[in-house]
């Protein structure tokens, strides 16, 4: 979807206003959305769409998906969580997913960064090397 400059600038301004102490503030976000819907500025639906996308990207940056081939034990989960929060801050949202396609090991994705120690990845690398 192509958005115009004005819409893009407004949505970016909204995103900038959505932080409290460097972290996304759920209360401020809902207040901003409500205010925008009430005031109905020009192209406000498009602004909301663009704002939603920016918030989604911001949330993705601060959320971790931990995939494993089998269910992780509570101890391992706690250790992984502690390590990730130490690296990315305590506001990191986490999600544990069981993905048998990994065959073994773990794959952690935080934003654009991926740490992959799964057997599937190792096999793929081995295939490339051979």
């Amino acid at each position: 979807m192509k958005i115009n400059k004005e819409t893009r600038q407004l949505s970016k301004a909204l995103l900038r206003a959505s932080f409290t102490d460097g972290q996304l503030d759920r209360g401020r976000i809902s207040a901003l959305v409500t205010s925008l819907i009430e005031k109905k500025p020009r192209n406000y639906v498009r602004v909301l769409d663009a704002y939603k996308r920016l918030v989604r990207l911001e949330v993705e940056k601060r959320s971790a998906t931990i995939e494993s081939a089998s269910e992780l034990t509570p101890d391992v989960r706690a250790e992984v969580l502690a390590n990730l929060r130490r690296k990315y801050g305590i506001d990191l949202a986490t999600q544990f997913v069981v993905n048998p396609e990994l065959l073994g090991g773990m794959r952690i994705r935080v934003g654009s960064d991926v740490w992959d120690s799964s057997v599937r990845n190792r096999l793929a690398r081995l295939q490339q090397q051979l």
Partner: protein, 511 residues
């Protein structure tokens, strides 16, 4: 067999403890050979990215929240929602002598069915051109074998000489003739017939051309024994715009390997008009702002950074050279259009081909007035300078006088002599396709013309006379030709020998 198993076991053992870190993104939309990817926060400009289907892309637009990448390969295998990851590598092509005699695509994959290429190294497509300190002046000739070019618009090794003209005016033919001439010289050099000879390897980059044209060029080079010294980089019209845009850079990378290893290379970019069109398409699809004629703002930089990679470098930097022959197709002879003026200003001269001359039978249809070589004369051998020094002036005067002579029949003796001389030079410069003339024969023929041996020959018989003379010199007076090759200059003794040979030839072949 056991060593193979051990190898695999070691590699598996190495993998056991390793965790790979990568930077990934998700394809949000794809179309027209371009993918827009969200994520990829650490991607670098021009970095290769790999899609989950194994297809490779190139990151060209780094925006605030997304990355625009061109897809190299099967675009249908990249889908919305696919993961893309950075590779940390720039796009590279195989380089080296293993590519000679082969036809490859933009990423160096063989297209000729002759099996895989065992390349010695890989070079990045985009590379900064050699700087001022690394360069040295152009002082060695590229013998094109086309008399009009070698005599009037000489090309030196490391020069960039534009070939410009309308469609069907013989631009590609000049480039192919030059490649064939190099192959003949390379063979003569290998046989030890030319002292201090440096072979010149050729790379022919076909951009946006009909596949049949590329096949024809391949057949011509093969038939003339030139393919073994040539690499053809083919990005035909059926290829994606991204591949067409990258093809000349791949050719330049292949040429640079020769330069870095102390050898000489010649690259023909056929043609840069279609290259600019392909780049315009890529830019528009990437939603980059468009400028004049809808070309993006950096279309000048596109060609300048490509052609700047042609250079002759110092001995410390390898001592090699890359010569470029870019080709530009004009529309109805308009050299003042956007892309032609850009490339004219970048190159060190141009060979301008005129359709009118072509249809008058003057082939190659080189316009003497508009063609120029800014550095090439430094690269001419002395013998050519001695015989061809005044030819350009003679021809220019002839053209002017010929225009006036149309209005009246009474001409003074001086004017008539000039017109006669001009007509004979024009006839001499007519040349058949794929028939390059060795420089020593050029010297002998031009010397004969300068010294009045052709004045008694009727204009319509000049060409036949020239061919007979060349044949006579080749078969009966090989020693004179060999002396020209070794001495590279005409001295009193050589001139006497030439005069005697010509007298003998004229007495045995009365016109």
């Amino acid at each position: 067999m056991s060593t193979i198993l051990e190898d695999i076991e070691t590699q598996i053992a190495g993998l056991k403890t390793s965790t790979s870190k990568s930077n990934v993104g998700v394809v949000r939309d794809t179309g027209d050979g371009v993918a827009r990817i969200e994520g990829l926060s650490d991607v670098m400009l021009n970095e290769m990215i790999e899609f989950s289907s194994g297809v490779v892309g190139l990151a060209l637009n780094l925006e605030e929240t997304e990355v625009g990448a061109i897809i190299l390969g099967d675009t249908t295998r990249v889908m919305e929602g696919d993961e893309a990851r950075t590779t940390g590598k720039l796009l590279q092509v195989p380089v080296g002598k293993a590519l000679l005699g082969r036809v490859v695509n933009t990423i160096g994959e063989p297209q000729d069915g002759k099996g895989p290429i065992k390349a010695e190294a890989s070079y990045p497509l985009e590379k900064i051109a050699p700087g001022v300190i690394k360069r040295r002046s152009v002082n060695q000739p590229v013998q094109t074998g086309i008399m009009a070019i070698d005599a009037m618009v000489p090309i030196g090794r490391g020069q960039r000489e534009l070939i410009i003209g309308d469609r069907g005016s013989g631009k590609s033919a000049i480039a192919l003739d030059t490649i064939i001439s190099q192959a003949r010289l390379n063979k003569a050099g290998e046989d030890g017939r030319i002292p201090d000879f440096r072979p010149l390897y050729c790379i022919y980059v076909a951009i946006g051309q009909k596949s049949s044209n590329v096949a024809r060029a391949l057949a011509v080079l093969e038939a003339n024994g030139a393919l073994q010294y040539t690499t053809i980089v083919s990005a035909p019209a059926s290829d994606t715009a991204a591949n067409q845009y990258l093809a000349p850079f791949a050719g330049a990378a292949m040429g640079e390997w020769f330069m870095d290893n102390g050898m000489d290379a010649l690259i023909v970019y056929d043609d840069l008009s279609k290259h600019a069109v392909a780049y315009r398409q890529v830019s528009l699809v990437l939603k980059r702002p468009s400028g004049r004629e809808a070309y993006p703002g950096d279309v000048f930089y596109l060609h300048s950074r490509l052609l700047e990679r042609s250079a002759r470098v110092t001995e410390e930097a390898g001592g090699g050279s890359v010569t470029a022959l870019p080709i530009i197709e004009t529309q109805a002879g308009d050299v003042s259009a956007y892309i032609p003026t850009n490339v004219i200003s970048i190159t060190d001269g141009q060979i301008y081909l005129e359709t009118d001359l072509f249809y008058q039978g003057v082939r190659p249809a080189i316009s003497v007035g508009l063609s120029v070589s800014r550095v090439g004369s430094a690269a001419q051998i002395k013998a050519i300078k001695q015989v061809a020094g005044k030819i350009k002036l003679d021809l220019a005067q002839f053209r002017e006088l010929a225009a006036f002579a149309q209005f009246g029949s009474d001409l003074d003796a001086g004017t008539k002599a000039r017109l006669d001389r001009g007509q004979r030079i024009v006839e001499l410069f007519k040349q058949t396709q794929y028939g390059p003339i060795p420089v020593e024969e050029q010297v002998a023929v031009l010397w004969a013309m300068q010294n009045g041996y052709l004045d008694s020959v009727p204009v319509e018989k000049i060409k036949a006379f020239q061919l007979k003379l060349q044949d006579y010199l080749r078969t009966r007076k090989e020693s004179i030709l060999n002396t020209i090759v070794t001495k590279k200059a005409l001295d009193k003794d050589l001139e006497k020998e030439l005069a005697a040979a010509l007298d003998e030839f004229k007495s045995t072949n009365p016109v």
